[in-house]
């Protein structure tokens, strides 16, 4: 087992520490009193976690595709189940994203959350542990425990602090994602029965039969496609996003949606390479549909949050597109795009939270002409909107460019279609920006606005707390936009290794096809998969 791992050489068990700090923080929070104290406590805990995660960045070994900072402990010997955690080039950035977004979630809820502050802090901290666990767990059971365990705090976040239709949205979120991932459990157990291990790197080295790979792939892909969310399974997302409190939206957009992509990269591609190659056309089609339909739906929204939610569907379409191109540029672009989406969309949701606290409306028409009153706010809005539509110089441009480069390199037609998504993104983001900042086009709205004029004068610009959050994320927008090399270098070895794994697996498939064996099997399985989708 050790041959896949580089055991942690820091003088403290960094990954376990990251998991434990928020839980301990949550337990202590149970005994604290006073909303202000709790807020500062929550902020302190998340900041300590973020600080503790810094060595992951500084001490990361870019030359290896093995799992680093690994820890190995006995947990459940009866099933050959061990507590094993570690990060590689694919997960390390997502771990850092999580630890750095969480303090912002506490900050952006500072005055937004008015009731049950104690529960809010506890739930947020538990959420952090669960999310980190998903990214660092190297054992399918550990992964599943965090993957499912995460539903509970997220459900509570939406259900307790959500908006008007929180009931519907939270239940839909929970049931949709829960139902999607129960088959994951079946796949995990059947792989264990076949191989006797739950350890992910060992599972990657197995040569499963094609039929079995198909089953595993479909079970995994269903769960991940729902979490992502990919086109036919995306309906829970707008509901959840719209009703969630601002911190919930930020967590959802910045981190939760990344788990689907992470799952594809960690499980589907290396464990079931033949099935992956076989299903590429289906998944590319779904990605393109996500990009175009997501963008198209975003174009028609009048609710800002809904607009951003649908734009997330489109952006995530780019991520899956990149993943299933199965080439270096595509996968790197996809991972980078996950980080970018975390930064940019997280910031956009923080911006929506800020304006919602002031006007108590998420309608675009109620929030127009902000340029007159909130210059700092609209500056940030402009930056993040441009980043969202992948304007050159911003972070998303690099990610989308890499994905498109990969697409044109491999399937020019796919690239050509996905360009349409980029155009749509420009259309809906510019429309949003134009309406919110200026808006002198619509007489009706203008009239409405005249009524509220006295109130609008009371609109305060961003305060220091809000400014800090947005400025922090702005740094990343330009840093990744202008100098993405450090990030790309970090994922280099792991992505190369992943592509090697897929190629090796699918080469095997070609050999099989060449000999004409299992042809009938391939056909039936393929037809079966096509029926499923």
């Amino acid at each position: 087992m050790e041959k896949y791992l580089i055991l942690n050489t820091l003088n403290f068990p960094i990954l376990s520490t990251l998991l434990i700090i928020p839980v301990v923080g949550a337990i202590i929070a149970m005994f604290l009193r006073g909303d202000t104290l709790l807020k500062f406590w929550g902020l302190a805990v998340t900041l300590i976690t973020a600080a503790a995660s810094l060595p992951l960045w500084t001490c990361f070994d870019q030359t290896t595709a093995k799992f680093q900072f690994a820890e190995l402990r006995h947990w459940f010997p009866a099933l050959n189940l061990e507590y094993v955690v570690g990060v590689d080039g694919i997960s390390v950035l997502l771990v850092l994203l999580t630890t750095f977004v969480m303090p912002l979630c506490i900050l952006c809820s500072w005055s937004y959350i008015k009731v049950r502050m104690k529960e809010f802090i506890i739930v947020s901290l538990l959420m952090e542990t669960a999310m980190l666990g998903v990214f660092i767990g190297l054992n399918t059971v550990l992964f599943y425990i965090f993957w499912e365990g995460m539903l509970v705090p997220m459900y509570l976040l939406i259900a307790i602090w959500g908006g008007a239709r929180k009931d519907y949205a939270s239940i839909k979120f929970f049931l949709y994602t829960f139902a999607g991932s129960v088959f994951l459990l079946v796949a995990i157990i059947s792989m264990y029965i076949k191989t006797g291990t739950f350890f992910i790197p060992e599972l990657m080295d197995q040569q499963f039969t094609f039929a079995f790979q198909m089953w595993v792939f479909v079970a995994f892909a269903l769960g991940f496609a729902i979490k992502m969310p990919m086109f036919p399974f995306h309906t829970w997302l707008p509901a959840a996003h719209v009703e969630a409190p601002v911190a919930g939206s930020v967590i959802l957009a910045s981190i939760l949606l990344k788990m689907g992509g992470y799952g594809f990269l960690r499980f589907c591609l290396p464990i079931a390479p033949q099935a992956t190659v076989y299903c590429v056309p289906v998944l590319l089609t779904m990605s393109l549909l996500s990009i175009i339909i997501g963008g198209y739906l975003a174009l028609g929204q009048s609710d800002i949050k809904k607009l951003i939610a649908y734009s997330s569907v489109g952006h995530m379409g780019f991520v899956t597109l990149g993943i299933f191109l199965l080439n270096d540029a595509g996968i790197k672009g996809a991972i980078l795009q996950m980080i970018n989406h975390g930064v940019t969309t997280g910031a956009l949701f923080i911006l929506i939270g800020i304006i919602y606290e002031r006007t108590h409306s998420r309608e675009i028409s109620d929030n127009s002409k902000l340029g007159m009153f909130m210059p700092i706010y609209v500056t940030f809005l402009g930056i993040f909107s441009l980043s969202s539509l992948a304007f050159p110089g911003t972070n998303s441009f690099v990610g989308e460019f890499l994905v498109l480069y990969g697409a044109f390199d491999k399937y020019p037609l796919v690239g050509a279609v996905s360009i349409l998504g980029a155009v749509l993104a420009a259309a809906y983001m510019l429309r949003l920006l134009q309406k919110m900042v200026w808006d002198d086009s619509d007489g009706h709205v203008h009239h409405d606005h005249g009524d509220d004029h006295g109130e609008s004068h009371a609109l305060l610009d961003c305060n220091f707390r809000e400014f800090i959050q947005l400025a922090f994320l702005t740094v990343f927008v330009f840093w990744i936009g202008l100098h993405p090399t450090p990030l790309l270098d970090m994922m280099d070895s792991s992505v190369a290794h992943l592509i090697h794994q897929v190629d090796a697996g699918s080469a095997l498939q070609q050999a099989v096809e060449h000999h004409g064996e299992h042809h009938a099997l391939l056909e039936t399985a393929g037809a079966w998969v096509k029926n499923i989708f």
Partner: protein
């Protein structure tokens, strides 16, 4: 020899005896409860001490082994928790408090006998001891119309019918194999079950009384009405401890029928699938919380059966694990119900409204138990399901497991509904629920046990595996 091996039963008999003498006088409820708790705690200690006891008694009809001892610990623990959660016995008629405790203890005693019985007639006698006590106790209810009488009659009728069928099945078994000892049956039955349909029918008939106790399809009809009609205290016992007793006998009987997958296995699989599907779908539309738990227990019985029918060590030990988990999470739910209903009335979803404001601790207990029953990690319920599915897939029952996980997804809805009402539906009119310190300790106990055993199941699981190993 006899004394040390028989110690747990003697301790519980002493408890029953003391309670019997107390029924003759007049005592305050507090004193009765204190005496019951103290004596049960002593029994629990004695049972725990004899966890590794071994021996045969009464012409080998009574076998003390690792399996029986583990189940005795669980049964006494269940009894202790039932006593502890019904502090004031508010749902029981004033005059009958002591009788209630006595009969519950007698029923637990019967179950203890049952877990050691390895001969058909002994099994039947132990079963009847535990059942008769419950027949008496179900109608003990204060001021809720006649609903408890209906429950009592239903329980007696179904119980008598299923015992009759079991007895009839035993006559078949005796006719086929010419013995009533399980260890001798284990030599002869597998061959008969593989070749003779009559043997399959006989085994299913023998198991009927335990299907009834476990509330497994097709003997599940009594469950919702009895749960609804009996008092909260009675239900918390009926819903948990007898099911533990049923599981041990089902384990013994299935291992008698042999490890091979036969028609017998498929009959059990059909029952398991129908039980979980029927239970879950019916539970979706319930508004009375106890009825909901009744249907959910039918579904859980199906899950347990999924482990039992594999007849190998992984599946059976996970069934043991699951029934322990089931007992704990259900008692947790009944603990919440008991505390919400100070008058001993039934609890509906309306009563759960605003629970997180009225009593955060109760709401949290309910949430942990509900998510555990839904099988969300890191709880004991998730670990149980995970182990069960592992056992079933190990034996090749992919189809069954897929049906089971679809069921788990359906069930998530109504468990979530409980949490949702407790946390999200406001109701500012009702006053807060103040829990005495002992009740708060109990709530913490349920939360901690469900979470800790759920994330570190090794100790319980290895105990279960040791226990099951004696069967194979």
């Amino acid at each position: 020899m006899l004394n040390t091996v028989f110690m747990p039963e003697l301790a519980l008999m002493l408890t029953v005896l003391v309670l019997f003498f107390m029924t003759l006088g007049k005592f305050r409820t507090g004193l009765i409860q204190a005496a019951s708790l103290l004596l049960t705690a002593a029994t629990l200690a004695v049972t725990f001490a004899s966890l590794n006891a071994q021996g045969n008694m009464f012409f080998d009809a009574y076998q003390v082994d690792a399996l029986s001892q583990l189940f005795k610990v669980v049964i006494v623990l269940g009894l202790f928790l039932v006593f502890a959660l019904g502090r004031g016995l508010t749902g029981i008629d004033e005059k009958l408090h002591c009788e209630f405790n006595m009969f519950i203890a007698i029923s637990a005693l019967g179950l203890m006998f049952l877990s050691s019985s390895v001969e058909l007639i002994t099994i039947l006698l132990s079963l009847e001891i535990s059942s008769y006590a419950l027949y008496v106790v179900i109608p003990f209810r204060r001021g809720q119309g006649r609903i408890h009488v209906e429950a009592g009659v239903k329980y007696v009728l179904f119980g008598a019918a299923s015992t009759g069928i079991t007895l009839y099945g035993m006559s078949y078994v005796f006719g086929l194999a010419h013995t009533t000892y399980l260890n001798e049956l284990a030599d002869r039955m597998p061959a008969l079950v593989a070749t003779q349909p009559l043997a399959v029918i006989a085994m299913i008939f023998v198991m009927t009384a335990f299907f009834y106790k476990l509330a497994l399809f097709p003997m599940h009809f009594w469950t919702p009405d009895v749960y609804q009609g009996a008092s909260n205290e009675t239900t918390s016992f009926v819903a948990t401890v007898p099911k533990v007793g049923a599981v041990i006998l089902l384990l013994r009987l299935v291992s008698v029928a042999g490890v091979d997958i036969t028609q017998f296995t498929w009959v059990l699989a059909t029952f398991a699938v129908l039980s979980m599907t029927l239970g879950n779908i019916s539970a979706l539309v319930q508004s009375d919380l106890k009825r909901l738990l009744a249907y959910s227990s039918i579904a859980h019985a199906g899950y347990v059966m999924l482990g039992i029918l594999t007849a190998d060590i992984v599946g059976m030990s996970s069934a043991v694990f699951y029934i322990i988990a089931y007992m704990l999470m259900n008692l947790g739910c009944f603990y919440v119900i008991y505390n919400i209903a100070p008058e001993g009335q039934n609890v509906t979803f309306d009563d759960l409204k605003g629970l997180s404001r009225r009593s955060p601790l109760l709401a949290m207990t309910l949430m942990v138990c509900a998510f555990s029953m839904a099988g969300v990690p890191p709880t004991i319920g998730f670990m149980g399901k995970f182990m069960l599915f592992t056992g079933a897939i190990d034996k090749g029952f992919y189809g069954l497991v897929i049906i089971a996980v679809i069921n788990a997804a359906v069930a998530a809805y109504y468990y979530l509904k409980m949490v949702r009402v407790a946390y999200c539906v406001p109701d500012d009119e009702k006053e807060k629920i103040v829990l005495p310190i002992s009740a708060a300790i109990m709530a913490t106990f349920f939360i901690v046990v469900i979470l800790v055993v759920g994330s570190m199941p090794q100790a319980v699981l290895s105990a279960a595996q040791n226990a099951v190993a004696t069967l194979l």
